[in-house]
Symmetry: D2
Subunit: 245 residues, 4 copies
């Protein structure tokens, strides 16, 4: 396993401050719950939140970020367009991006997808089962056939995203819906993983299997140092004739 990946966990960090129920589940914020198990694996993890200057995503922080994790919900519109543009450009240059749960509606994700990213939802605390549909994918290494979450918010199809490059997990919900829950996308030099679970009132990020998926996704999204494409006006035409004599 790769180690020493520089991970930044970004969290809106509003629910936890205003809602006691959420605070009970995530007393130090969702970002800390996500960050701690990653730090234990030897990654260099930092956190950033909406109300910090530049939302905590200064150039210095982004320069030191291999993989960015994103959780947001009620304040997507407060994320400045300048920071969004910077994050998108970093992804294009090879920064990995993991978008969690209600981050589907973040400016960053919508900008990278080119779709509305809309979906159905219901807050009924119903049972979710995330079935693995691609058992060969490194993101589900060490995971069972499905992950069972006793209580979660429901997200249902149609999920308005581009066709994923890889579909890794599909969720079943007690109320009758399904959802493409684990999806990969490539944009420029960057690898993106959307992972559905994580409503703020449920202890989803304390679940060891969910933590394992996020840890796997960090490894997967970490740039692989392929070629850096050269764009623009190419060298003059030189007709190639080096046929074997």
């Amino acid at each position: 396993m790769s180690t020493g990946i520089r991970v930044t966990v970004w969290n809106e960090y509003r629910h936890e401050l205003k809602n006691e129920k959420v605070r009970e589940v995530y007393p130090n914020g969702i970002h800390q719950a996500i960050a701690e198990p990653l730090a234990e694996q030897g990654h260099a993890v930092r956190t950033a939140t909406l109300d910090e200057p530049e939302h905590g995503l200064t150039d210095a922080v982004l320069d030191a970020t291999d993989v960015l994790i994103w959780w947001g919900h009620v304040a997507h519109d407060e994320v400045s367009d300048a920071v969004v543009a910077k994050v998108v450009e970093r992804v294009w240059k090879g920064m990995g991006l993991i978008v969690l749960h209600s981050g589907h509606f973040s400016k960053v994700f919508k900008r990278l997808m080119g779709t509305s990213c809309d979906l159905k939802w219901r807050e009924a605390g119903e049972n979710e089962r995330l079935w693995v549909v691609d058992p060969t994918h490194p993101i589900v290494s060490g995971i069972g056939e499905y992950i069972d979450l006793e209580h979660e918010e429901m997200y249902g199809e149609h999920f308005d995203i581009p066709t994923p490059d890889e579909l890794v997990m599909v969720s079943w919900f007690a109320g009758g819906e399904v959802f493409r829950s684990g999806c990969t996308f490539r944009r420029g030099g960057g690898k993106i993983f959307y992972f559905r679970p994580g409503h703020e009132t449920h202890p989803t990020y304390h679940n060891a299997q969910i933590q394992k998926v996020i840890a796997n996704a960090v490894n997967w999204a970490h740039s692989t140092q392929g070629p850096t494409p050269v764009y623009g006006n190419a060298k003059p035409l030189e007709v190639l004739t080096n046929q074997e004599a």
Copy 2:
């Protein structure tokens, strides 16, 4: 809509003859229930069954088939390898193929997929909901957000198929499973659609939405007369130099 497509509906036709419950649902056989609504659309539909000579799939019949529909279950092994080889080759040459329900384990489908095509199943007559995950696909033209089948056999993931070219529908089952229920594949010049529902004891093929999907699939699978590739030893090397003066 295309009309006049020459469709052959192949059915094992064993359950109906031996099992009264199945006969009540499909008194003329599953093949007739599938064939009739297609004939009503103006297609030239014929049927073929396992116990006919050459399983009803003579060269003359295959020569006159644009799209083949396949339903089989208990007698996959009785289909001769010679007929399987012929069907596979026809698909490669452009014949469309629609594989239904338990046809996932047919020799023809396994041969074209290159996988075991295995899955989970349960006969509990539970509720199935087939959710459309690609609303732009012609196969779901005229279909609602989902198709509700009150009672069906369950098929669950992992479904051991290659990654589908297009994932059109995903099923939800009351017992907690999901399934990739509508999948397209291309093999050679032929287009293949796998469509999950249709257990022999349930009136699934009398459902108008299911009939609509099958009718759409026939149109979709009908060959589009693209180029016929030329294989083998290519013309000698001629270095191309026709740069503009």
Copy 3:
């Protein structure tokens, strides 16, 4: 074949007015060269250009457009963000979109792709061969194994687009480059085809095979009236228990 599709051909229409060489090739503008063969097929074709009010893309025009074709090059930045937003939303709602050649850098295409859409290029009038790599695709119905263009501008990989849903053609260039030349994407309810050829100084849009591909793409991109997804708060949870007695 579908007929009576309402097609709008959008062209920047600047090169033709300023450059005599271009005007010789396309005396009535690139848009007319594209529109005429489509009109001959019975489609309801109109044109729109950058310097018309609202760039010719008023609500009334967009309301009456099933498929929009886009050619732009030197004035991408002059297309107003308001019109871009409207076109993107129309695509999401089911309008087909065909983006030609230098339209790869249009605001509309970049917005829908979520990438830079950058590439290599060279103006040397070199030979291009567009090889069909998916002979089953309706977009290459009636086309040979490849289309030979004696003189074209070169576009080379890496082409910074998301992984196409379907890769239909790959170009070979005399100078040593390759390019993914015919690519499909789905965004919301809309189907998008990017088609590479068409530099303004070459008579590419007078080529019958190129015209055939564009005509096929119009048919393919025309919306198939699948389900209209319902988004937002779903109906309350009702646990489904209708197991067969």
Copy 4:
């Protein structure tokens, strides 16, 4: 990087024994040329050839193989069906498979693809350029924008394979053809990489970039220990009602 992967390099090993020109290029056989750089990376590499008992692929050898590399050309038909069936089953159970060059026509590859795997070819020793079209893929880590091979056999489209899961490289040939040269597929628990170059009369496997791609592919194809799917009759239906109180 993973180390200690158990790799078996299988080679037909006929050309080298009969043809002096080939022997000059690969005095110890193509298998040794492929095996040596992998062994230098710390992998546990063995070789196997057609004329050994069971073609060198005994159960003991396959039990000790994480990734199998396959080169064959003139004697595909001499590979026993029993060994082919065993190799296919091992792939389904998670063994990685790398198929090189003329291995496209091997029984193993055709069986896993479900297509004819046919293509165009020309032996003119012409220039090949393998362009990277997916710079984020781990298989091209450390590779430049393209790999230049001065002299190679040409393989041209149409290449009759299923749509690859991932298209990593596309080749350009001096004579006017293109080819999908680096393709991934998943079959059951196994990951497959087809890599085009490697005609027996050219020193392709001595090229450091080609060696790097093969080494990357070994790492990529090595099983990731995802869930082992359980197939067959599922547990009885238990309607799930654990809605939050």
